[in-house]
């Protein structure tokens, strides 16, 4: 056990399809909450559509954590089927520990090489002696003992989760858990090591337990979304699936469209009808939507697109994360098309950023693209209730019935009142053709200029307030980042501070429009900037270079997925600056 991280343990549970590694992981994370801890969990699957090997990657800590750690302290293998597939993802150290079933055969070389200590527990055999007992519940017991969790809480959780399946399953699960929890091999091994500190009882209380997709969904409906159109794509599908019944509950609806071309156009149609609307997709789908996003900009129809980034280009690595659709989100629209691009920084921020995006799109009658990624979308956190306060943002300006109504009237703010179908005497035709103030198609230079300036002004002159970035710490060294790399950078910042460095971590939440003055203010006394992103071509770096000026010594830490950037990489880069 790494003594530095004594209250912060990272563990992985692997097993072949049906072995229940994910279930065990989920229960362990829930138990963490009941034992005054926080945590997060990622699921990793082999390439099979269903039933392949799976790994639950879990971090449990006495403080709220928002990203995975550099390496794993413990690997529990229910079996070794194809486990070497996970070797890259589950980085062990020489002082890590492996718990494995001796009946599962030899430990794959990839794991053995490090000379890691191994405890062999016959999980399968232990489970076999118990009616309806399963090895993954034995594993849950072993790990709960290892973590010093309360066995009574575990029993209650098992009753709650398996209660529906009847007494035999519940009883078997409880008994298997106990067999693991009291297994002499694990008790002895635990005794031989320093105990992790007990959780601070002050940490008790309600936990929020959700993944980034659900966070975006909640933010969307808080922001007022009542219609969504959907075409399934990994890793955005679960967001759409989450929304469907909930929109219906709220009197709205979700329609499964024939493709992304349809889904974005449906969103525009519904929004034209006065209902705040969104879709969610991932890279390839966003590519298909770009033409219609231009229509939403030109016709000034509010529309929200949540784009959950995955490894690209093309089908790429659909189940893994990469921050690589920034270029497309910022530059992908044709014509001069001012719009909004926001990036969620962590799980809690998925709620805030999506709600903010919906409110901004409605207020500014334009497209808002929210970028998240697979890393956020499909990992689950256990954190304190996310609390935030958004600045006051006006609702969509609705036109009252008026004679001589001009849909695209030139106003000081650039925002023109929008008539909603059903409003008498204000009928108009929304148009993607350039138009006059009344909406009449026009090719006149003056009309084009006036409308371009209006559409640009409404965004440029809007006061976005303090949410443009999340800034932590002070110092002459700044880490500049975005999206899911933010939580990693914040953790690196905390470690650097603990080691005596003064570091400021700036994570940009509002990417378009850019905030050059605000960032310049934050960088005033900064002499070194490290730009951190998960992109091979350094998309964020190039974006920053396009919109901001830097005087400081500026370097990059940019690399592609699928492996997440670790806090240690950032720390190393700063410590070895010279």
């Amino acid at each position: 056990m790494n003594s530095e991280h004594i209250c912060d343990i990272s563990l992985a549970i692997t097993g072949s399809g049906g072995a229940g590694s994910i279930t065990a992981g989920e229960l362990l994370l829930s138990l963490a909450g009941k034992n005054s801890c926080f945590g997060m969990m990622r699921r990793s699957f082999g390439p099979q559509i269903r039933g392949g090997e799976a790994a639950a990657l879990i971090r449990i800590s006495h403080r709220a954590v928002e990203c995975m750690n550099d390496s794993f302290d413990l690997l529990l293998a229910l079996d070794w089927n194809n486990a070497d597939r996970f070797a890259e993802e589950i980085a062990l150290r020489p002082d890590s520990l492996i718990i494995a079933d001796p009946a599962a055969g030899d430990i794959p070389e990839a794991f053995q090489e490090l000379g890691v200590e191994i405890i062999e527990v016959p999980m399968k055999a232990l489970a076999k002696d118990i009616t309806a007992g399963r090895p993954n519940m034995v594993a849950l017991g072993l790990l709960s003992h290892w973590l010093g969790f309360c066995s009574d809480e575990a029993g209650k959780l098992i009753d709650q989760v398996f209660g529906r399946k009847g007494e035999e399953v519940t009883g078997g699960s409880r008994a298997a858990f106990t067999a693991g929890f009291t297994e002499p091999l694990i008790v002895a091994a635990r005794e031989a090591r320093p105990r992790p500190e007990r959780g601070d009882p002050g940490n008790r209380g309600t936990r929020w337990h959700f993944n980034g997709n659900q966070g975006c969904g909640l933010g969307a409906i808080r922001g007022g979304i009542r219609f969504a159109a959907a075409y399934p794509i990994t890793p955005a599908s679960d967001l759409l699936e989450w929304l469907s019944p909930r929109l219906e509950q709220l009197g709205g609806s979700l329609v499964q469209a024939e493709d992304e071309l349809a889904s974005i156009n449906m969103v525009i149609g519904a929004s034209f009808g006065g209902v705040p609307s969104m879709t969610a997709t991932s890279g390839p789908g966003l590519a298909l939507m770009t033409e219609a996003m231009g229509l939403a900009v030109a016709s000034e129809t509010p529309a929200v697109v949540v784009n959950v980034m995955r490894g690209g280009p093309s089908t790429g690595i659909p189940t893994k994360s990469e921050q690589v659709d920034l270029n497309m989100a910022v530059y992908g629209l044709h014509g001069d098309a001012p719009h909004l691009v926001l990036g969620a920084l962590d799980h809690a921020d998925c709620i805030l950023t999506t709600e903010w995006a919906v409110r901004l799109a409605e207020a500014l009658q334009t497209v808002a693209i929210v970028l998240t990624d697979q890393n956020l979308a499909q990992s689950t956190v256990l954190i304190p209730e996310p609390k935030y306060e958004l600045p006051e943002i006006p609702a969509r300006v609705i036109a009252q019935p008026t004679d001589g109504y001009q849909r695209y009237e030139i106003t000081d703010s650039g925002v023109s009142p929008m008539a909603i179908p059903g409003t008498a005497s204000s009928t108009y035709v929304a148009d993607g053709l350039e138009h006059t103030e009344s909406g009449k198609p026009s090719t006149a230079a003056a009309d084009h200029l006036a409308q371009l300036e209006k559409r640009s002004r409404k965004i440029q002159s809007f006061d976005f307030g303090g949410h443009w970035a999340d800034i932590r710490g002070v110092g002459q060294t700044a880490i500049l980042t975005w999206g899911s790399s933010s939580a990693v950078a914040r953790e690196a910042g905390a470690r650097l501070r603990a080691a005596g460095h003064e570091v400021k971590v700036i994570a940009l939440r509002l990417l378009l429009p850019a905030s050059p003055e605000k960032l310049a203010g934050e960088l005033e006394n900064v002499s070194r900037i490290l730009i951190v992103e998960q992109s091979h071509s350094k998309q964020f770096h190039h974006y920053l270079r396009a919109f901001y000026d830097f005087e400081a010594d500026t370097r990059t830490l940019a690399r592609p997925g699928p492996l997440p950037i670790t806090p240690a990489e950032i720390v190393e880069k700063i410590e070895n600056w010279s």
Partner: protein, 278 residues
């Protein structure tokens, strides 16, 4: 306002906007505009409760020439945009209009899915068997041997779609064909189409004198179907197949469940937020 009062209040002219169409003299699309405004006036629909959605093409310009709510969107996606509008605003009367290229080529996927989805809306394809706006290329309804386009100097060599047949297989619940040479007949078809509960498809034969001058002879070929409206898809398919594509009238009508997403009842946030806590 009751229906009778509306009828007195609004004439077809009231459903036209002040804009002068960009169409060439003699373009069939004028007659489609007239037929739509006539149908709407006849039905006594309040202008603000109607929305006309279109894509891109000469024909798609039509949205701007009416005085109802409209959306002139992007090429090929009018049906998708209209479906979103109708899903969110089931109270509106939604009409969609555009060209054969818009609806059957770039928008072909939306066409078959809109037929299948059977939302309560009316779709008019203004079929001139050519891309007018881009100056005369072959469309999916152009005959294979039409060789007047520089893009396909030997003709397309590909058999055209039969829009009515396509609509039938894809599940449209109302299928008709009209001709712009008979705007009153077309208006009558539109009244029935708009009144139909479900997805109604109207193919309007609408000549393009500029790029298909030979279509000016259509008036000599067009005739009325001599059979009653069928509610039997097998019979309708036979009728469509046996026809030369120039017979007009309502071919098929069969009510089937209309797609209406959601209940419209707001039950509040309820447990949604508490699902996040443990």
């Amino acid at each position: 306002m009751d229906q009778a009062a509306q009828q007195i209040a609004l004439t077809p002219k009231d459903f036209k906007s002040a804009l002068k169409p960009v169409w060439c003299p003699g373009c069939g699309d004028f007659a489609v505009l007239n037929a739509i405004t006539k149908a709407l006036a006849f039905m006594g629909l309040p202008r603000e409760e109607v929305a006309l959605i279109s894509g891109i093409g000469c024909s798609s310009r039509i949205a701007a020439y009416t005085s109802v709510y409209g959306f002139h969107g992007v090429h090929g996606r009018a049906l998708a945009l209209a479906s979103g509008l109708k899903a969110a605003r089931g109270d509106l009367t939604v009409l969609v209009a555009g060209g054969d290229g818009d609806g059957l080529s770039i928008g072909g996927n939306h066409f078959i899915h809109a037929c299948r989805r059977n939302m309560d809306m009316t779709y008019i394809i203004m079929d001139n068997e050519v891309y007018g706006m881009t100056k005369g290329q072959a469309s999916p309804t152009t005959a294979p041997d039409w060789a007047d386009s520089k893009l396909t100097p030997h003709g397309t060599g590909i058999r055209p779609f039969q829009p009515a047949g396509l609509a039938l297989t894809a599940g449209a619940s109302f299928i008709a064909r009209g001709f712009t040479g008979d705007p009153n007949g077309l208006a009558k078809i539109l009244v029935a189409a708009i009144g139909h509960k479900g997805f109604s498809f109207v193919q309007a034969l609408s000549p393009c004198p500029t790029f298909r001058p030979e279509q000016m002879l259509w008036k000599h070929h067009v005739k009325a179907f001599d059979q009653e409206i069928s509610s039997n898809p097998v019979e309708a398919a036979q009728r469509i197949q046996a026809d030369d594509g120039m017979s007009t009238g309502i071919i098929y009508q069969n009510e089937r469940p209309v797609f209406r997403p959601g209940t419209g009842v707001d039950n509040g946030m309820g447990s949604i937020e508490s699902e996040f806590t443990i």
